[in-house]
């Protein structure tokens, strides 16, 4: 796939060329949206919105990393969706106690009250990580998703979310630190490989 040629064709209005780019990057965009949003349906919606927006504004792409450019559109779509959610709050995911108070501890994921089907379907590590990601502020979450999940370079992240490089470094450090603190609560849920890795550090 000649990406540059496809981009040029897409800039000339060729939807088929753009759709080939969509097929190449849709997993990356969907995963980014999923980690930022924490919800599959909303992630799919954000991904679709991002591709539509990308096609409409593809003439503004001036070169560089096309993946980073696409990730910026999906990040913006996620931010839009999150702002909509803030305006129209929905039922929280956290379970409530008998007193109708929300349980703030992340240990609810290990709650045995979950159905066996749910437990069976759940990928424990993924859920734990996603839960900790969700606990991060959106700006921190976005940076850590783009850096550690999508593997973008610092400068690409800075370009993607239009934030100074120094801020990216700072947010990434804070996000990693908070994630580690959060994940310590899921120690028993973490896979053996990680526990071995963790044990090997001492």
């Amino acid at each position: 796939m000649n990406e540059t040629a496809l981009i040029q064709d897409a800039q000339n209005g060729d939807l088929d060329a753009f759709n080939r780019l969509v097929l190449a990057y849709q997993d990356a965009l969907y995963n980014t949206a999923l980690r930022i949003m924490g919800d599959e349906d909303q992630a799919a919606d954000a991904t679709q919105e991002a591709f539509i927006s990308a096609f409409r504004h593809i003439s503004s792409f001036r070169g560089g990393s096309f993946k980073a450019w696409l990730l910026r559109t999906v990040t913006n779509a996620c931010y839009d969706e999150l702002r909509r959610k803030q305006r129209r709050p929905t039922v929280p995911l956290e379970p409530a106690t008998d007193d109708e108070e929300e349980i703030e501890s992340p240990r609810w994921l290990a709650d045995t009250s979950m159905s066996p089907e749910q437990v069976a379907e759940a990928d424990e590590l993924e859920h734990a990580i996603q839960h900790c990601l969700n606990a991060l502020p959106t700006d921190f979450r976005t940076v850590v998703v783009l850096a550690d999940i999508q593997g973008l370079d610092y400068s690409e992240i800075a370009d993607s979310i239009r934030t100074p490089l120094g801020t990216i470094k700072s947010r990434l450090a804070r996000a990693r630190l908070r994630l580690r603190e959060c994940l310590q609560d899921f120690w028993e849920l973490l896979p053996a490989a990680f526990r071995l890795e963790d044990g090997s550090r001492a």
């Binding site: 209005g13 939807l15 753009f18 759709n19 969509v22 097929l23 849709q26 997993d27 965009l29 969907y30 995963n31 999923l34 980690r35 599959e40 799919a44 991904t47 679709q48 591709f51 539509i52 096609f55 409409r56 990928d123 590590l125 993924e126 990580i129 850590v144 850096a147 550690d148 999940i149 610092y154 470094k169 700072s170 990434l172 450090a173 804070r174 990693r176 630190l177 994630l179 580690r180 603190e181 994940l183 973490l190 896979p191 990680f194 890795e197 963790d198 550090r201």
Partner: protein, 259 residues
């Protein structure tokens, strides 16, 4: 961890991503070796990153390829569409201004005429009253207004009066006789010009009546009606053609393909 400054945490994160320059990296690695707290934080950061990298990449639940309708891709415009659209817009604009001109200009002109008539009536007309203004009077209020003094008639005056009394013999005016005589004020206490014997063939003075101005004719509309109709037809026809060509292209594009 709590004893480690955030500056150190940031440096450790950069070291993890190999974003430190070699000199700084070497210095920090030396500190990590010697400071257990710093090493613990470094390990925490490294493990958090390792966990995130372990996160499985999900496959997209469906294809997100775009359809023309979803992308709101519009078919190319017909070649003549911009021309007709521009013609329609211009004709509409001209029509609007023509109608506005026809509606307002005659009214403005008539208002201007009315204001000029008003100005003429205020200062232009001759005033007979002003011309017949009386003379000064004596301060003595007992005297009749008009400034005259009652004197006993002289014999010449009596003779003159007698001559005037006979209408059969109009006498020529005598220049050496007094031109004026004192008249008794009647209704209007003004000095009257003495009635001179009428000069033969002379017309009595009549106050000129103000000349009646002609009624202004209503102004014809500046833009003729046929031009308005032409503009309306042009606007409607070019707009219709533009719409039709666009609709036809849309239809052909939807049924026949994208391009």
């Amino acid at each position: 961890m709590t004893q480690t400054s955030f500056r150190d945490v940031e440096q450790l994160s950069l070291l993890l991503d190999e974003k430190l320059n070699p000199a700084d990296a070497a210095r920090l690695e030396a500190r990590i070796e010697s400071e257990p707290d710093l090493r613990a934080v470094y390990d925490d950061l490294r493990q958090a990153r390792a966990l995130l990298r372990r996160l499985p990449q999900r496959r997209a639940p469906r294809n997100f390829t775009l359809k023309p309708s979803a992308a709101r891709v519009r078919p190319p415009l017909p070649r003549l569409f911009p021309t007709f659209r521009l013609a329609s817009a211009l004709a509409s604009l001209l029509l609007f201004f023509s109608l506005a001109t026809n509606a307002t200009l005659p009214r403005l002109v008539s208002m201007a005429n009315e204001s000029s008539l008003y100005a003429y009536g205020m200062g232009g007309g001759p005033s007979a009253e002003r011309a017949q203004g009386g003379g000064g009077g004596d301060e003595d209020s007992s005297l009749p207004i008009g400034g005259g003094v009652d004197l006993p008639p002289s014999p010449e005056a009596e003779e003159q009066a007698a001559m005037e009394a006979s209408p059969a013999e109009p006498a020529a005016p005598a220049l050496d006789e007094p031109a004026t005589k004192i008249v008794e004020p009647e209704a209007e206490p003004t000095l009257q010009i003495a009635a001179l014997p009428p000069v033969e063939g002379a017309q009595p003075y009549e106050e000129p009546l103000p000349e009646a101005l002609p009624e202004p004719e209503p102004m014809a509309p500046p833009v003729p009606g046929w031009l308005l109709i032409l503009l309306a037809i042009l606007a409607a026809a070019s707009g219709g053609i533009a719409f039709f060509t666009r609709w036809q292209t849309d239809r052909r594009w939807k049924t026949g393909g994208k391009k």
